[in-house]
């Protein structure tokens, strides 16, 4: 119980290095291990929690949010355990993945109720600031069940940061957002991170976090598989080996031209299915292919990446970092 209500000023960020700490945390449901011996420390700035579906991201976030007890280990927020400790919420905001809201409330009522439940000294001002921050002033008086998925998501973010928390946790916040909304949300998260707050969001789609500048924690099958600077990981993504199937006007001649390139590791010709090309470098290969086709006057009819599954990308990252 470290926080008391401050009536002289609005809520303030009190983040220090290590605002959220996981110490050898394991979580199991029955005999299924969802999270396996994860330790991590989150400090100010934006951190991405990445991993394929079912990797345990939500379980990790919910333990940080005090929604689940760890089966073993310790989860600390601002130095205190998150479980069975409602006082952590005065410095913590969470946006869960499940997008349920009280649909009968207007967006404004929803955010204002959140401000009142946080017992803020001036709930109206705090709610107005939060709604403005997520750019939802214009539709704020409509009932929430009339909102689109992206609008509802932004109102939920507004409700989660109405008390200006020092730690903000978001589970798949970019779900259902169009690219423009995604960029806006990422900018908002970065602004909060730059202001000294600890922001953690999860995502299972690598492409949607392209604007991230910061640290990522990669979880695969309940384990912390990799952590580090996102740029390194992004470089590995674009340079990863990749398999494509190609159909063209002249598969055999294209195969001859391709095998001479350094970015191509192997080519297999199948008279029915076309070419199977193993590129050693995804980025260079996709840039070179159109040039080769143009030079050889071959028409490429189909180009399909054969192993685009997230699992293959993540397992490559895990092996490569």
């Amino acid at each position: 119980m470290t926080t008391t209500v401050d009536t002289t000023a609005g809520p303030r960020p009190t983040a220090t290095a290590g605002a959220v700490e996981l110490k050898a945390v394991t979580k199991w449901y029955g005999n299924v291990v969802a999270v396996n011996d994860i330790s991590m420390t989150l400090g100010p700035g934006v951190t991405g929690l990445l991993g394929p579906n079912g990797a345990g991201k939500t379980t990790v976030l919910h333990m940080m949010a005090g929604f689940l007890p760890p089966s073993r280990g310790e989860v600390l927020v601002g130095g205190s355990p998150a479980w069975r400790n409602p006082s952590v919420y005065s410095g913590l905001g969470i946006v869960v993945e499940r997008e349920a809201v009280h649909g009968f409330l207007s967006g404004w009522d929803f955010v204002l109720a959140s401000a009142k439940l946080h017992k803020l000294p001036d709930p109206e001002a705090a709610a107005r600031r939060a709604v403005t921050l997520v750019d939802m002033v214009e539709p704020m008086n409509r009932r929430m069940d009339t909102y689109s998925k992206g609008m509802r998501q932004r109102m939920r973010v507004a409700a989660a940061l109405v008390h200006d928390p020092s730690v903000l946790l978001l589970d798949e916040p970019f779900n259902g957002m169009d690219p423009r909304q995604r960029i806006h949300m990422m900018e908002l998260l970065h602004a909060m991170g730059d202001a000294g707050r600890t922001v953690l969001f999860s995502s299972h789609i690598l492409e949607e976090v392209e604007q991230l500048s910061g640290i990522v924690q990669v979880i695969v099958a309940g384990r912390l598989a990799a952590s580090g600077d996102f740029r390194t990981i992004r470089r590995l993504m674009t340079h990863r080996p990749h398999v494509f199937t190609i159909q063209s006007s002249d598969d055999r001649r294209l195969a001859v031209a391709l095998i001479g390139k350094e970015s191509v590791a192997a080519v297999e010709v199948d008279t029915n299915a076309g070419l199977t090309v193993k590129a050693s470098d995804y980025g260079t290969f996709t840039r070179e292919l159109p040039k080769i086709a143009l030079a050889e006057k071959i028409r490429v009819q189909r180009l399909v990446p054969a192993d685009e599954s997230l699992e293959s990308v993540f397992s490559y990252l895990v092996g490569g970092v």
């Binding site: 409602p86 969470i94 869960v96 499940r98 009968f104 959140s114 439940l117």
Partner: protein
Amino acid sequence: MFNPTIARITLRGLIGRRRFLLLLPLPALMIGLAVLCEGLNVQASDWVPPVVAALGLAVVLPILALVIGAGVLGSEIDDGTVAHIIAKPISRAEIILSKLVVAFALTAVTTGVPLGLVGLIAGEPQLALGLVVGAVLGSAVYSAAFMALSVVSRQPVLIGLAYVLVWESTLTNLLTGARVLSIYQYVLSVVDRIDDSSLVTANVSLPVSLAMAFIFTAGFTLLAIDRLRSFAVVGETS
């Protein structure tokens, strides 16, 4: 300990749901039967016990309390909106007590008013008063019990129905000793004490009934608070 914001959202959520309309036919049926019997000049001693005790107190009161009590928190647990309430720095006791007040008040009004009316239709003001007081007491005990049930189990309505229909209505008739664990009997005791017409008869003594009603209400409230403290919010995929 009472949070008006939680109470307001809870009330709007309850009244806004279509399920709330289910509350109307039962009291209406009870009043309709009473009016019909009076209109046909049936003796009060012939129609009051079945309509008031067997229908009103044994079915209408607990079923309305169940729909409301299991709904104030249970519906938010079902649809996931409970996450918005519990991720706030407010004590779990404040959440439970605020919702309990809403459940209690709504049940007391929706059962006390029609039961009192039936007493008046029977021409027994004392019985009407007894029924109102009984409904208020029963609303408190049932609300606490069914609300706790909604935190402990994902099937509060099913278990609540089993309690009302199997335990209170059937088993306590066969095993008379079990009556001391029946909320219905506590309500009967209160009504019987206030009413001077002896149209309703109690089976459990008033002091025992009041003591048990208090223990039930306090116990279930504390249970709900404790279980909400340890309430686990799992993701959709878990």
